[in-house]
Symmetry: C2
Amino acid sequence: MTYCLAIQLHDGIVFASDSRTSAGVDHVTTYRKMHVFDRFEDRIFVLLSAGNLATTQEVLSRIQRDLETDRGAQSLGSVPHLSDAARYVGELSHAVQSRYAAALEKVGQTGEVTFIVGGQIRDQPQDIHLVYPQGNFISASPDAPYLQIGETKYGKPILDRVIVPGLNLEDAARCALVSIDSTIRSNLSVGPPIELAIYEKGELALSHHLTLKRNSPYYVSLQKHWNQGIRRAFETLPRFDWE
Amino acid sequence: MTYCLAIQLHDGIVFASDSRTSAGVDHVTTYRKMHVFDRFEDRIFVLLSAGNLATTQEVLSRIQRDLETDRGAQSLGSVPHLSDAARYVGELSHAVQSRYAAALEKVGQTGEVTFIVGGQIRDQPQDIHLVYPQGNFISASPDAPYLQIGETKYGKPILDRVIVPGLNLEDAARCALVSIDSTIRSNLSVGPPIELAIYEKGELALSHHLTLKRNSPYYVSLQKHWNQGIRRAFETLPRFDWE
């Protein structure tokens, strides 16, 4: 499995992802699930992916090819709006899945992938979209300012307690790391390194892009402080009336 | 959905459950999912249930009938070991499900129920068992001292950070409440009142059995303190090196 999330804030967007990939039980390995497209003058995109690795790689390779042969064809470099980028990724993804659907169905599998597509084009509003395997997509809202894909449930409570659109980018990034760390602790199929990208609105470039390995000093320190904080929070809980 | 859990500790067992039942979208209501059998001299059982409400009610009614006509027949009053109680509940559950399986399959449903069966018989060890819809069952272990059924993922991280077998009963009960509260906040299908039962090893009776409604002062206070504690924990997290 996988766990990726994107948080839409007044000041920008935070993207985070784990790196565990399992193609069957014996083939657990590490792949990046965050794909940054920032070689443009007037736009930036970050893609997060959860699902079939073969589909993901083929979609990414088609995105790359469309960029290289950009003569009138649709590509991330030419889409007029961010929602067109989401629709474009959805179409590619659905086309790739369809090609292998019959063969995969025979072995009880699907080639499904869910994407998050976020970023900004020129002075248009920044946004994040969740692209379903079927190609349709939704965006975040002020009431639900984050999107998650993959193994989403373990890390949701901390987001629901902390994330509001007015949070600053660094606090939101810390919350994303805690959300992923909680998932890693509770689910073997999600694992480090954790990739973290911070996009400041209007910059059209990432302000920070980190890879936190299991023994990265910042990640170790964050885990330690969070565990201590949780323990302290726990000790302050009210006693029952018979205690 | 539902969320129930049982925590096996050196000092006893903590049981907790929500009370939201949804039979279709329009029929959301409240049912107890914790069923206490404590009218015996030499034993006590607590059952927690997650799944089809009709199956649950028929299983409970059969358990009750077997208790009332206890002449040589198997019943919770006569099973020699706790694992026999789990096997007995599993057999009843599977038999009830089988009766309606064909009819339910036609409308794309199952009558599946998962149970947790915990308690103690005489001076035998206390224990908790998770009984699958198929009737087979597992018990908790020192490495995994809790069992969950229903909507289990949201509330798992806090258990994984706090629960160890040596924790005292009240702290484990608070952790169970936080685990359920986190689930309630993140998932509409789980809701109060929360039922909480604390069993002290060797007592063969519950020491405490509470129902916490949405506006119960203790539950409100627990939520407030936990939210404050999480916020404080959050504020103590290490800054990034560029901050």
